[in-house]
């Protein structure tokens, strides 16, 4: 019988914890260190195979870029009305990917969803690396990349400045802010773990980690400052992440072109970003879980929660997508309507329909528990979702050029060249490479936070056993001791 609120809380907690045990609370802390640090040790053969493959893919991209640099943007098969192509589309894709790390580490941190703890580290790494990849695309896309520093507001004797009205300058600023902030966030959150590494490493790695851990000793003073800093930076990162993708959306939304000039673009972009990010987390979750034997930490309930989150965001995205279509359809803008019809029926129609299918229909599979708990299925679905989201970005960029305001310049020939595809493929190689290096150099599971999680779970269990424990979440973050 449940008579009081307290009793009800306890009952809920009991059910929650015992039915879906997302981590074993009796796991030994030393074991956590051991398990995670094992992932930093000498890699397996498979690692090298994948790494070399990624490197090769990256080199393909690099050679394409060198060719393009030498010859001119023409090798990308862009043309005069159709001046942007896959570069910008993939740029948005990578920026979008970066939002997952912030979602897990900052938003869920503030919301006290502590199931994020075993998986947020690699998500944050993903944020940083996908931003670095996105930054590459800005460079690759420029006609005169050797002059890219003109975008930077540096003082100079000619008193020339970038044009602060340009969304591209907003982009540059926002991406710079986001990249550095998320790197800082990743690093700060990693300091206690780096100290663990330091304590367990030998040789040059010891000096490396000693340097990086800045003499962290886990003192109360350090922890107190750490806690406040981490929370503050998390609070900054959330609006920052939202603003970054809104600003990327303004690249399109503030322009006059049909299919871009849409008010709902900023939230639409943010939703799409979180969506693709979550899907990417699922992919990497499964890969890391398998490669590093992280079954103890990256447990099925966590995967399931991530899948549910992805589903929810997918529905937000679908809704915003439909808002875009319907507001265009019922609106009075001839150009936009024509562009929408072109998307659905023109040269890009197969990709557009595939994008809608992958983005809005496929996520419904996540509604089934059996699928959510089926790792191969989840791997495939998560990759499909990301393909869909990549297509979405392409479908935002290209059809507008091919079917814009001015009918005379509608496109003859807009298929991206091998150089474009090569550079896009190279970006995946680059990201993979960075991510693999990260996983081998830094702990991809946050050890101290898993310990916290285990500790608080055990507290909760103790509490439920003697029925005096109050809300465990408060105990985790709120500083209320029992």
């Amino acid at each position: 019988m449940i008579n009081t609120f307290e009793e009800r809380d306890v009952a809920v907690e009991k059910r929650f914890i015992h039915k879906e045990k997302d981590i074993r609370e009796d796991i030994a802390w030393a074991q956590i260190n051991k398990d995670v640090l094992k992932s930093l040790e000498r890699p397996r053969m498979l690692f090298w195979v994948i790494f070399i493959a990624s490197l090769a893919l990256f080199m393909v991209g690099v050679s394409c870029e060198i060719y393009q640099y030498q010859t001119g943007m023409g090798v990308a098969n862009l043309d005069n009305p159709h001046v942007w192509g896959l570069y910008i589309g993939t740029f948005i894709f990578w920026i979008g990917m970066s939002h997952s790390g912030t979602l897990l580490s900052a938003i869920l941190h503030i919301m006290h969803a502590d199931w994020r703890k075993p998986i947020y580290r690699f998500a944050e790494a993903m944020t940083t690396f996908s931003l670095m990849t996105a930054g590459l695309f800005v460079m690759v896309h420029l006609g005169r990349v050797w002059q890219f520093y003109y975008v930077v507001a540096y003082p100079n004797e000619r008193w020339t400045w970038p044009n602060f009205q340009s969304p591209l300058v907003w982009d540059a600023t926002a991406i710079f802010t986001y990249l550095t902030s998320s790197m800082i966030f990743l690093y700060i959150g990693m300091i206690p773990d780096l100290a663990i590494c330091r304590d367990n490493a030998t040789g040059f790695r010891k000096s490396f980690y000693t340097f990086l851990s800045l003499g962290w000793m886990g003192t109360d003073r350090q922890w107190a400052n750490f806690r406040v800093t981490y929370l503050t930076v998390a609070c900054f990162l959330i609006p920052l992440a939202v603003s970054v993708h809104s600003i990327v959306a303004t690249d399109f939304a503030v322009s006059q072109q049909p299919g871009w000039h849409i008010t709902s673009f900023p939230p639409y972009f943010v939703a799409g970003a979180l969506y693709s990010g979550c899907a990417a987390i699922i992919t990497l979750f499964i890969v890391l879980r398998y490669v590093f034997r992280f079954e103890e930490y990256m447990t099925m309930p966590i995967l399931e929660k991530t899948a549910k989150l992805t589903f929810a965001i997918a529905m937000v995205w679908t809704y915003l997508n439909l808002v875009e279509y319907s507001s265009t359809w019922y609106g009075d803008d001839m150009y936009a309507k024509q562009a929408l019809i072109y998307r659905a029926t023109g040269d890009f129609a197969p990709y557009w329909w595939m994008m809608n299918f992958l983005g809005s229909v496929v996520p419904f599979t996540l509604a089934f528990k059996r699928i959510r708990n089926n790792i191969p299925a989840m791997l495939v679905i998560s990759i499909l979702l990301n393909v869909g989201m990549w297509l979405e970005r392409w479908m935002i960029v290209s059809p507008t050029f091919a079917n814009g305001i001015y009918p005379w310049t509608w496109d003859h020939d807009q298929w991206p060249s091998l150089v474009q595809w090569g550079i896009v493929a190279g970006s995946f190689g680059w990201f993979n490479m960075l991510f693999m290096l990260f996983c081998k150099i830094f702990p991809s599971v946050s050890m101290y936070e898993v310990k916290e999680m285990v500790y608080h779970r055990s507290l909760v269990r103790k509490g439920t056993e003697d029925a005096t424990q109050i809300n465990p979440e408060l105990a985790v973050e709120g500083g209320i001791a029992s």
């Binding site: 003109y150 970038p162 044009n163």
Partner: protein, 282 residues
């Protein structure tokens, strides 16, 4: 760059904007605003303007393959439209439209350039600074008329086999790969005329200088001049056609022919077109 400057001149910086005759921010009004009037009724679509532009502005000949890829560099192009209601034959002929940079007063391209490579000049032109351009191509993406042309290739190394470089106009630079270019209203001619006029303590006279397309046009379909000068032919024509440079929706009689293309997007173009006439009884 000082804060005092900012505070002292705040209202200036907030209110003065490069249109409505305020191109030169240090002056109350500007002496020049170049504008065009283009009579579509007598434009025959002969492409003389295009070729003249190639000759004057060192436009590269790109070749068939690159033309096919849309990498052609014609700053002024002649568009040919058929009537939408055409049944079997185009019984009223074709509609020709010479389309070049419209030198918009509120140019969509200017605001989006990340490095400020395209901006307004003091005489109301939409200028393109090749040195500053980094090739982000945002300006072209945002141009409603799609009259900006990007150097997708290193044309100087291919487009002019010797001795064709001897023909290049030394007043106009040759553009390398990776930068955007567009019609300048032959700014090299305008600047020459302006400095010549300045040495003689006068303004440029009407008809003293015209862009290459205007000079070539066999039917004289294009009129060019300084619209600030109320006595210039172009100003009279704009007035006569009841087109106001600073209005986005013109209130005019249905008998006058002046209009500006895509006016509803509010770029305030500086080129007025005059409607094509067809004798419906013929």
């Amino acid at each position: 760059m000082s804060i005092t400057n900012l505070l002292n001149n705040w209202s200036f910086y907030r209110n003065k904007r490069p249109y409505r005759g305020q191109y030169d921010l240090n002056k109350e009004y500007s002496e020049y605003k170049w504008a065009m009037a283009l009579d579509l009724d007598i434009c025959t679509g002969c492409n003389a303007c295009t070729t003249a532009c190639y000759a004057e502005n060192n436009l590269p000949v790109v070749g068939k393959k690159r033309f096919h890829h849309g990498q052609v560099m014609h700053w002024i192009r002649i568009e040919r439209y058929w009537d939408e209601k055409m049944v079997d034959f185009p019984e009223q002929g074709a509609s020709f439209l010479p389309m070049m940079c419209q030198q918009c007063e509120a140019a969509p391209c200017e605001t989006v350039c990340p490095v400020g490579a395209t901006s307004h000049t003091n005489d109301g032109l939409n200028s393109q600074n090749y040195h500053r351009c980094i090739g982000s191509r945002y300006c072209s993406a945002n141009c409603p008329y799609k009259v900006r042309y990007f150097n997708f290739w290193n044309y100087p190394s291919t487009a002019w086999p010797a001795p064709l470089p001897d023909q290049l106009n030394p007043d106009v630079t040759v553009r390398t790969k990776g930068i955007m270019e567009k019609c300048t209203f032959c700014v090299q001619r305008l600047n020459e005329a302006k400095s010549r006029a300045r040495t003689e303590y006068r303004l440029v006279r009407d008809g003293e200088v015209v862009p290459a397309c205007v000079q070539a046009c066999p039917t004289s379909a294009i009129t060019f001049g300084n619209i600030v000068d109320p006595n210039s032919k172009v100003a009279k024509m704009w007035k006569n056609q009841q087109v106001d440079l600073y209005k986005d929706l013109q209130e005019k009689d249905n008998t006058v022919r002046g209009y500006r293309i895509l006016e509803d997007l509010r770029p305030f173009p500086s080129v007025m077109y005059m409607e094509r006439i067809r004798d419906t009884e013929a």
